[in-house]
């Protein structure tokens, strides 16, 4: 096991140990913070598949994050209002079951990524950045001004959704759930990177013309990766909405896209645990600097600037060295 492997274990265990210790010390808020780190890291794991493996710099992943969140609220809100989800063409009830909601959020995120990706992948480079940003913004404005589903007020879910066999209202149990999903996504991501598809994606990123000449359509490969990426980020959105028991267009805003990207880059692009390390560092910075000054974002900005200019490769990259190749 190389240094990065050791580091991955350290990060994974720390994210487990911190909430457990906080739980033992009766500090539930720290458990909640760890849950937030796990969920945001999950969003980052999704983005990392597009960004790190596929080289697609998407500044619109908030769209999938928010759609996942809305998928949760749209399914759960009718239950608390004692109304059916829809009556036409068939009568369908809402649900408070997390597995069903997760499935819906994953599908919704993936479908949105299919639509946005199919258009955006006609371009590349800086165009792609701007276009994904613009599509994200379009959904944001739509969510604010469309009268159904709360507009800017968003939707509150008063009781967290349920998971068979767990009490999700207990912070440590919900944290464990989020941790489990994150680990599953990391395993999936690792498997994907090593699979035939991962190889094809790597080829499409490094040399699309060569890939085409090998009979591999770079557009299809990249679009598939983008859809998987959007689906995972959508799942993260559903969990995030459940963490807050609330969803609003703020989840769709371009600042959210920026922050998800910051997690990935802070931790290290294309590093398996990059998003986890990045999200943890970001939340830590937010809370440490927040205590210092009302203008803490100024210092956050300066810290980010320092990291991008002088600590290339992000946290994992700086600590583990250039072990895996990445551009």
């Amino acid at each position: 096991m190389g240094r990065e492997g050791v580091l991955n274990w350290v990060v994974a265990l720390a994210l487990l140990a911190v909430p457990l210790a906080a739980h033992a010390l009766d500090e539930p808020f720290i458990v909640t913070l760890a849950t937030k780190v796990a969920i945001l890291a999950l969003a980052g794991v999704g983005l990392n598949i597009a960004l790190g493996l596929g080289g697609m710099v998407s500044l619109g992943h908030a769209a999938f994050f928010g759609i996942g969140g809305y998928a949760m609220a749209v399914l759960a809100a009718p239950v608390q209002a004692y109304e059916p989800l829809m009556t036409w063409p068939v009568e369908l009830p809402g649900t408070k079951s997390m597995p069903v909601i997760w499935l819906a959020a994953t599908l919704a995120g993936g479908l949105a990524a299919l639509a946005i990706g199919a258009l955006s992948l006609r371009t590349s480079g800086v165009y792609f950045i701007m276009i994904t940003l613009a599509f994200g913004q379009m959904l944001y404005y739509f969510a604010i001004s469309w009268p159904a589903y709360g507009g800017e007020d968003g939707i509150s879910i008063y009781v967290r959704n349920g998971f068979p066999g767990l009490n999700t209202l207990d912070p440590i149990q919900f944290c464990a759930l989020a941790y489990g999903v994150l680990m599953a996504a990391l395993l999936f991501s690792r498997m994907l990177a090593r699979s035939c598809f991962g190889l094809a994606l790597s080829g499409a990123r490094q040399n699309p013309a060569r890939s085409a000449a090998l009979g591999i359509r770079p557009y299809s490969v990249k679009l598939t990766a983008f859809v998987i990426s959007g689906a995972i980020t959508g799942l993260a959105g559903a969990l995030f909405a459940d963490l807050n028991r609330f969803v609003s267009p703020a989840m769709l805003s371009w600042q959210t896209s920026g922050e998800i990207m910051v997690f990935v880059i802070l931790g290290g692009v294309a590093r398996l645990f990059g998003p986890v390390a990045g999200a943890a560092l970001f939340i830590l910075l937010e809370h440490l600097l927040g205590g210092v000054s009302d203008y803490w974002k100024l210092f956050l900005g300066l810290a980010l600037l320092g990291i991008v200019l002088f600590a290339r490769g992000g946290l994992i990259g700086t600590l583990a060295g250039r072990e895996v190749a990445h551009d």
């Binding site: 960004l51 710099v57 500044l59 258009l119 955006s120 006609r122 371009t123 480079g125 800086v126 165009y127 950045i129 701007m130 276009i131 940003l133 613009a134 599509f135 913004q137 379009m138 404005y141 739509f142 604010i144 001004s145 469309w146 009268p147 371009w254 920026g258 990207m261 910051v262 880059i265 692009v269 203008y295 803490w296 974002k297 100024l298 956050l300 900005g301 300066l302 980010l304 600037l305 991008v308 200019l309 290339r312 551009d327």
Partner: protein, 305 residues
């Protein structure tokens, strides 16, 4: 709905577009020459507006404020280029996005630290206040007409600068081939600083001009920035002509869409719902326009791709 109202709305769209052009021109120049995507371009728009409001407030002269906005934005641009941006040219777009995202935080919170959280006061100069009557009997604000004039004049000046001057030749050479222009003996880092400062000054000028019409506050730059991105995507990256056409197209689409869509919907819906649904769709219209352009021409209307 009268024809006059439609004409007036078209003028409004034109004015909006021309201001977007000032933002987009700098952005597209910086991308074309240096290959840099600058998310902090909106912050320079804000710097211009704050500089203008501060100087106009202290001296009582809008024109001094306007000069200050150009100077402050250009200086801020040059400073940022020298300290941060030039380390990013060789980096990939990802690092550029993160670094300039961080710059937004620094600029926004720094401005709030200096000027406080309350919006600043900046008004139209007395000489340009109030409406004038146009042929056809339209009462139209003089200041907005002046904005259209200034914007088009600057567009003309930019075309001249790029097409006819030595600096322009260097800029075009830089767009074509970075190594070649270094081989020509041009001091490339100086050229980059100048181009970046020029783009910043244009953004700052737009901020000051628009600031007199709207609220001068922290965060005013980001919505404009995203619109400028849409403009550039439509027009084609690196093309000044594309930026102008794209900006006017976006300005007209947005203004006319917000005006016409609710009217369209009210022909078959109840008024309150129609205005709400119409407004919701109008807010998406420019993005739909962008998607449409992409389908037909992935490189934008005047793009090289």
């Amino acid at each position: 709905m009268s024809v006059m109202l439609l004409i007036e709305q078209a003028l409004n769209g034109l004015q909006y577009g021309v201001m977007l052009f000032l933002m987009a021109a700098g952005l597209t120049l910086v991308f074309g020459v240096m290959g840099l995507i600058n998310l902090a371009h909106g912050s320079l728009f804000m710097v211009g507006a704050f500089a203008c409001a501060a100087v106009a407030g202290a001296t009582g002269s809008f024109w001094l404020g306007l000069a200050a906005s150009l100077a402050a934005a250009a200086a801020a641009g040059a400073l940022v280029e020298l300290t941060v941006i030039r380390r990013l040219y060789a980096r990939d777009h990802l690092d550029q996005v993160l670094a300039t995202f961080a710059l937004i935080l620094v600029f926004s919170e720094g401005t709030r630290w200096l000027f406080g959280s309350f919006p600043l006061y900046l008004d139209i100069p007395d000489a340009l206040a109030g409406p004038v009557t146009l042929p056809g009997g339209i009462d139209y604000p003089l200041y907005r007409l002046v904005l259209i004039g200034i914007g088009l004049a600057i567009a003309g000046a930019l075309f001249w600068l790029i097409g006819r001057t030595r600096l322009g030749i260097r800029i075009r050479a830089g767009e074509a081939d970075r190594e070649m222009i270094a081989a020509l003996g041009v001091d490339i880092s100086k050229l980059y600083t100048i181009v970046f400062a020029l783009g910043a000054a244009l953004a700052g000028l737009a901020g000051a001009l628009v600031g007199a019409l709207q609220s001068v506050q922290v965060g005013m730059g980001e919505p404009v920035l995203i619109l400028a991105f849409v403009v550039i995507v439509i027009g084609g990256i690196g093309s000044i002509k594309g930026a102008l056409v794209g900006a006017i197209l976006v300005g007209l689409t947005d203004t006319l869409g917000r005006f016409l869509l609710p009217i369209l919907f009210s022909t078959f819906m109840e008024t309150s719902a129609a205005t709400s649904v119409g407004a919701a769709l109008a807010s998406m219209l420019i993005y739909i326009l962008m998607a449409g352009v992409l389908v037909v021409r992935p490189g934008g209307l005047y793009g090289r791709a």
